[in-house]
């Protein structure tokens, strides 16, 4: 039972953090940063 409560809270916290990331449009920054590491095509 306690495991399920912890898992649910973790899930909610994760969703909240993901939403903050989406709201801050972090994916564009992330995509640019990750792309800059491509040695052949970057």
């Amino acid at each position: 039972m306690l495991n399920r409560v912890i898992a649910s809270l973790t899930l909610l916290l994760g969703l909240a953090m993901t939403m903050v990331g989406v709201y801050a449009q972090q994916w564009t920054t992330l995509q640019d940063l990750l792309r800059s590491f491509l040695p052949f095509l970057g």
Partner: protein
Amino acid sequence: MTSPAPADAQEKRGLSARFGFLRRGRIHYWPIRTTVQLAFFLLFSGVALVHLIPGFSGERSWIVLPVLASVKAQGAIGGTLDATTVLLSQGIFPWLPIGIMFVVGAILGRFMCGWICPVGFVQDVITGIKGRVDSVSKRTNQTWIKLKYGLTAIAFLVSGTLALTLYYYGTSAGTGAAYRDSLGPFASGLFIAFTPDGTMFGTLPQILAGSWRFLGTGQLGDFTLTNLGKWITGISILTWLNILILLGFIYAAWRIPRFWCRYICPVGAIMATFQKNSMLGIHRDPVKCADCKECETACPMQVPILDLDFKKFNHSECILCMACIDACPAGALSPKFP
């Protein structure tokens, strides 16, 4: 003297006898898992994709998964750890990758270590070639497991202090920028500089691509020891260290199954904390289980399955590869969700 079996047990035995062929034909996870691993291996490492698809423009998805997939590899998808440290190196709090780790961890635990991770797949292939799952002593295993938590703490200490310095002192100049410069190749993340898959699918292909330069114009006269020496001495000490780590990784995977996942992997360390309470786990049927230890022998992570709960177990080292389920002759193990 034996007591007569209860009616429902007799019924079960009758049904079992009648539908025994279904049990014999139960799902085996290893072919499915291997196919999934291979597909994701291509997505993460991407070397093959780059050459097979001429239209591949080098676009990289912002979607990151909690596996060890180096940003240096030619992949379309990256890993959350590298995304986290890369964002921290810019003084940005990594909401998105950390959020993804929490969501995946809460639902699936370390499932992705067993089914998706390209580094895990390489180790599984090495173990497959060897043909047997070796184990180390329980005490040694328990001691070395702690190493990955220490390494993760060091990695986050470096990236965390850098992020705070950049946040408070600015990213363009001053103390923050000076700190970042002083970290050199480690600024983007300690594990970006050292991971074996980054070496395998990023650094080594790059070096080999550059190796043709020592041939110069391709004339026979360009193939000289001087040119070869120039090319070799041009390779940095960090790259040589990476090659050494890669060789060590291959050797260690040969000796101990999933060595990297057990003792080194920072993503494994993070996801292990979620695994303890994750929704996906494994159930062991106390009636069917004969304590034959076949499951423990098959487990690449050396999880003490028989010491864990029957109803549902979520051991922090369990990567939910389902090798134990395939190995169980009685069919006593099954995935359990939630």
